[in-house]
Amino acid sequence: MALTDEKVKTAESNPTVSINFEVNGVRHALVIEPRETLLEVLRNRLGLMGTKLSCDVQVCGVCTVLLDGMPVSACTVLAYEARGREVLTIEGLAQGEELHPIQEAFIEGRGFQCGFCTPGMILATKALLAENPDPSIDDIKGYMKGNLCRCTGYRTILDSIQIASRRLRQERP
Amino acid sequence: MEFHEVVTILAPSQRVWDFLWDIEQMITCIPGCETAQVVEIGKRYKAVVGQKVGPFTLKLPLEIIIKERKAPQHLVVVASGRDNRVSTNVTIELELHLTDRGSEGTEMTFTTRMNILGKLATLGHGLIQRKAKEVIAQFARTIKQHLEEGEHLAAV
């Protein structure tokens, strides 16, 4: 089910709605159709391709974005729900050339191969560590249960998350 | 999935058998049957059957093939179709057997084997199964009703 411009083409008679929201710190004002998902708007209207489409039924996690800090499945959340709120995608983590500590942790821990699940993994990790800065392995597994990877076998992802946890705790005063 | 239905009809087995080939009558007996036509008499038919399954609706254009036929006792029919709106394929194999029970009439047994694939199957397998059982049971009852009314009228 490819996302093309076709899917977001607006017919004259279709209902539309105006939404204002923030993505990666940038404000957007868009006129969209209520039926557009957050994923469709991020990719097709805003050109942010880091958030992926895979299962389309909210079970795989590659479409994970943070909505007011909360991980959600962008494929099954209407863009309408982002009105007046803040969205964080993978593109919003690095500061210019400087990678986010979690991104560095995933490099150090070799937490990816093809990289397709990685944006979702990293954002879910960010949300986890914000809520629980020193999670046990079971805490991590429980939280990350809904992010699937077909390449790594998960061991290196777990390592990367633990590295990220240490890095972030060191950075805090 | 496979299920059985038995009904005893107060009518001779030959009359029951002949009734099965009467397309006009059968349309009224199959629950949800909107249209039916003969493609090749005794061999192939087409029908459109619509049913509500919970909050979902299923509308199936069916290709019906007579697989086996041994008048006036045994009939195997295969009906298959796809509802594109809900991307669901249904295949039903219906085995009918008529047994003469003398003064008690004709015993008609239905053995239904059903296969469902697609979106509605994932969502409502159990639901569809129960609906199918209901439909077959209603089908059997309606055939019985029509034939027995017919017999009654014939006797008058």
């Binding site: 017919a11 279709n14 209902p15 709605v17 159709e33 209520p34 039926r35 998902t37 389309d56 039924v57 909210q58 079970v59 996690g61 994970t64 909360m70 991980p71 959600v72 499945s73 099954t76 959340v77 209407l78 309408y80 879910a124 949300a127 429980g142 939280y143 249960k145 809904g146 992010n147 | 999935m1 919970g54 909050p55 979902f56 709106r85 809900v86 991307s87 979106k119 509605l120 199957a121 994932t122 969502l123 409502g124 397998h125 159990g126 639901l127 199964q129 129960r130």
Partner: protein, 289 residues
């Protein structure tokens, strides 16, 4: 999805009125974690989604001291329930069940009310609510009423809601001090295959079973009380019950009517029921000091 309009409503009354106005063309929309899936797949479509997330006061979790119960707003998300201090204090079993649902993303968005109203047969909380004797509060523009779990869940995807009615609150009576619960589930695809809840009430010496409630979910069109299993365990000593738990599990399995599907064959699901009933019973027992 096909085009639709979203209507933000400020009150239960407004929601009810819109439901009456649009009839079959409208549906209540909360988290959308079930609704949007069926709409995306094209199986169902509604021209009007009535957004009840804008109705204030429907997502509170409160301990009701007067009736020793939990009052849970229908718009409470699974994640809120999982992490609520009130739930963890008064009914940790519910927090345990809520934590198992789907994944964290679904739990952040999906609501307990939505879960009940979609009436998907594979529901974890429904199995537990049945065991606890939860009550569902419904409201429309003109009236209010209360239903038990069994009355509310009529059939798969069929709640007992009138066309203009909303589920506003779930009231859960809290088990007494001599009652503990166990919950077991099995899942290997997107939905749980089997779920079992057991509530065990023992006598003061913790040697005899005063009451036992066994509910089984996901295998029939709605969760059911495994009364045959309860009969084999109730009134027995703990030792006798442990010996009988194997038979009780099988009795519960016989009451199930599962279909063969991708979650498992009918025989396999029945086997799971039998085993999970035993495990849930043991789990409940080990929770007594």
């Amino acid at each position: 999805m096909q085009p639709f309009e979203i209507h933000d409503v400020p009150s239960v009354q407004d929601a009810s009125n819109l439901l009456s106005e649009y009839g079959d063309n409208a549906r209540l929309y909360a988290g959308g974690t079930e609704l949007l899936l069926v709409m995306k797949s094209g199986i169902l479509h509604y021209d009007h989604l009535i957004n009840i997330k804008t109705v204030p006061g429907l997502n509170a979790i409160q301990y009701g001291e007067a009736d020793h119960e939990l009052k849970i707003g229908a718009l409470t998300t699974h994640r809120q329930l999982e992490r609520s201090e009130v739930v963890q204090r008064w009914l940790p079993l519910l927090a345990q069940v809520e934590r198992e649902i789907a994944n964290v993303r679904v739990r952040n968005v999906g609501t307990i009310g939505g879960n009940m109203c979609f009436a998907e047969p594979h529901s974890d909380p429904a199995t537990l609510f049945l065991a606890l004797g939860a009550q569902f509060k419904l409201a429309s523009a003109t009236m209010e009423r209360t239903l038990s779990v069994d009355e509310f869940l009529v059939d798969a995807y069929e709640p007992a809601l009138q066309p203009d009615e909303l589920l506003t609150e779930i009231r859960v009576p809290l088990p007494g001090a001599s009652t503990h619960g166990g919950y077991q589930r099995f899942q290997f695809h997107e939905r749980p295959t089997v779920s079992v809840a057991v509530l065990l009430t023992l006598d003061d010496a913790h040697e005899g079973i005063k009451e036992v409630i066994v509910t089984v979910g996901c295998v029939n069109s709605k969760p059911f009380r495994a009364t045959e299993a309860e009969a084999l365990l109730g009134g027995k000593s703990v030792e006798e019950a442990q010996i009988a738990s194997d038979k009780a599990g099988k009795a519960a399995a016989e009451m199930a009517d599962p279909s063969d599907d991708l979650n498992g064959s009918s025989a396999y699901k029945k086997q799971l029921v039998a085993i999970l009933v035993q495990r849930a019973f043991l789990q409940a027992y080990t929770r007594f000091d």
